[in-house]
Symmetry: C2
Subunit: 460 residues, 2 copies
């Protein structure tokens, strides 16, 4: 949304050291747009921009920067400037930043926070990464159950400044337990004298602090809320999570799942921001592991070297057969990783999935086999290939192997995500290339076993 024009302008203003003009130019921009400018400007100029912005606007722009750029900036600003920035961040953004920084920087920054800010941040850092506790902000407005609507509104007016959202007001009893949540809209619409606990609004939905990110997304999708309260095991109110944070989480998670499905590690940031060596590491690791797994195909093929030497025609169909197994496995695995992530399918459903995949893949394998049979027969009939005089035996070998390989591929591809979840790993680790590698070796064994049965006494 920021044109090249504006950016060139800013660089020119900075070059002229016209600070007042710079302040004016920046004052018209939204914090996310300031953050975008900071990302694009040469590193030397970013410090200047931060010095010109007011402390609040600087903090707002800062929270929109990617964590690695936040880290870089922290190194270039003075300690005082940094602690100012970090203190102004919302506690959830601050906890996530401190999570990523080297321990010594984190310690220095925590030491510089006020006791109140320190407590809020420490509380958030106490929950395991990826749980609801990490994504919540303790800045919400609470009212007592015995307040009337008018009293509650006055209370919002008095205490609302600086809270992440006022859209929902939380009714909390003297013991800190969450009793009800009331949309500010419902509070405004209610009669002045009605008690807040009696305001007719939607049923209360809350999230336990230990809930996983997936659970949080599922709750938001299910109940269509803009914010949900987070409670501890005793039902005590801890904080709120807002829908925009959940959107960010779900987008990041989907990106990581896609990248892992494609067979690399999650990049964790935009493509162009991943450096050369980091990209090599994130992709090379899996590529090498898959390569080593795949060398087993050379070993498996080696066992059948004499058969290949006898009838080279058998080798021609190797890529076709094993890739079909890989493809059906890749379909099954991507469908089930996502179904597990969306909680449409539970761990306990594995047997139902097994049966569904078995019947589906038997039909698909038979169908592909039939196509393969026709292909071989047609090439023979057209005189393009003589298949050493045994086209129908070769065609039958292709058909029977495809039924086996496609079925095996679908079953491996669909069960692997369950197995990974069962042993406590992320189902998304089951990438398409990983499944293909598993299936390739077995596919070769299936193919050559079928071939030696059918072609025994003729070609082999």
């Amino acid at each position: 949304m920021i044109g090249e024009f504006l950016q060139a302008d800013l660089e020119e203003i900075i070059a002229r050291k016209a600070w007042d003009e710079l302040r004016d130019a920046l004052s018209e921009l939204d914090p996310p747009d300031v953050a975008e400018i900071l990302t694009d400007l040469p590193a030397a100029d970013t410090g200047v921009i931060f010095r010109v912005l007011t402390r609040e606007r600087a903090a707002a722009a800062f929270s929109y920067l990617p964590v690695d750029e936040q880290e870089e900036l922290i190194r270039s600003l003075s300690l005082e400037q940094t602690t100012g920035l970090v203190a102004e961040m919302t506690p959830d953004d601050r906890a996530r930043l401190l999570d990523e920084l080297p321990a010594d920087v984190t310690r220095r920054l925590l030491a510089a926070l006020s006791p109140e800010e320190l407590k809020a941040t420490r509380d958030l850092l106490g929950y395991p990464p990826g749980t609801a506790g990490r994504y919540m902000t303790p800045e919400y407005v609470a009212v007592r159950p015995d307040m009337t609507a008018a009293e509650a509104l006055r209370h919002v007016k008095r205490t609302g400044r600086g809270k992440e959202t006022l859209a929902i007001v939380y009714v909390v009893d003297a013991g800190g337990r969450l009793v009800e949540d009331v949309r500010l809209g419902a509070l405004v619409m209610a009669d002045d004298s009605v008690s807040v606990a009696d305001i007719e609004d939607r049923p209360l939905v809350s999230i336990p602090a230990a809930a996983s990110g997936d659970d949080v997304v599922a709750a938001f999708e299910r109940y269509d809320r803009v914010a949900l309260p987070v409670v501890d095991a005793d039902g005590k109110m801890l904080g709120i999570i807002t829908a925009d944070d959940v959107l960010e989480f779900s987008q990041r998670k989907a990106t990581a799942e896609m990248q892992k499905l494609g067979g690399s590690e999650a990049l964790d940031r935009p493509y162009f921001e991943v450096g050369f060596f980091e990209m090599l590491k994130k992709r090379g690791g899996w590529l090498a592991a898959l390569f080593l797994g795949e060398t087993l195909t050379a070993t498996a093929m080696g066992r059948y070297e004499s058969e290949i030497a006898k009838a080279a025609v058998v080798a021609l169909f190797v890529p076709l057969i094993i890739s079909s197994g890989g493809n059906s496995g890749s379909q099954a695995t991507s469908i089930l990783i996502r179904s597990l992530a969306l909680q449409e399918v539970k761990l306990a459903d594995w047997w139902r999935v097994f049966r569904k995949e078995l019947s589906t893949s038997l039909v698909l394998g038979t169908f592909l086999g039939a196509v393969g049979f026709c292909r071989v027969s047609l090439w023979y009939a057209l005189g393009w290939k003589d298949y050493d005089g045994h086209p129908f035996l070769i065609a039958a070998t292709v058909w029977a192997s495809l039924v086996g390989v496609v079925t095996f591929g679908s079953l491996v591809g669909s069960m692997l995500p369950f197995l990974l979840r069962k042993v406590g790993l992320d189902p998304a680790t089951a990438s398409a290339p990983f499944v293909a590698t598993l299936v390739d070796v077995t596919g070769l064994v299936i193919y050559f076993t079928v071939a030696s049965m059918i072609l025994k006494g003729t070609l082999l």
Copy 2:
């Protein structure tokens, strides 16, 4: 969230025809939970539940059902009941339902709507599917710029009932143009006499009605809002989109992308809800297309049949070499599909991506080749395999081919999403198996060409 216990209970209550008891049991549930019960109950019982619920609660539960179950219910309820349900839905949910229904049912339902409801629905249906216009709801609260905060609050009290969200109030001038948006919280916090146009709140961000779903998600992620206004080309206010709808959209989109990346069509609904034949169709189509593409490997291998007959050892490395190309292509394609979807990478960046992929994959290919070289040499040194007496020539062939195949795979995998977007298709069509198939055939040609150059005069 609904235990098996409760569901069994309900079935038993229905069997006893104890309607009052059923009404009581249902009254304690949230609409999404009622929807879940409806999904799980035998079809014959769902009609009963709808008759027991109040019209408003029935409509709320109805909007949480998947579209295919909504369609089924519409067929089983009377026209009067149905129009009641549909009339109570929010216009955006209604437009999406009508989109999916057969044309005659849509026409009948539209005919039964009130002129007001009809207009709101028609307006939404006027925007192309997948654009912001389809996801907005025209139910928001607007105030005039010359109102004071107190007047605006009174206006909200008067007109707010039944609006999707009151969290943000929109300041619209006499010409219908959107001037400003003010959070209800800021309105409550403001002094009574201040003009709404002067309330200090966040800068105005709006979405054009023609914006794509991806643009909408990007705007929400960028500006961290719970709702954004939608405007036409003249800046006139049309409706609002809320963050929970965007979350739903982004989750559905990510699911479709994953399934397509895995090489099947998008399933469009939960795994267990996809019927046997539908599953066959969604997976069989691509599987057959990939199979036909992959038969080209048999043709390519056929061209080298005499080489394989001369030295079967050459065939052993075929799966290893071509799968490495497929794996690197799959990595590149999944990373770039997602980067394009998130708008981190633009169409115009293709040349920058090409160069980055070229350098990355040359290094990765060289590295994998070195691993392959060592593997072959080691097996020879250990006396496990004699490679027809030419281990180092074979090892060199594997190395050189891997550099070529991995580089080719990454370039095809990374450029294909750009090409698809360029010709107006969805980049997500470039599935991992599709890239692997493209790369397999070329991989074979690269491998056998390298082999005949290096092994000429010795093995070949």
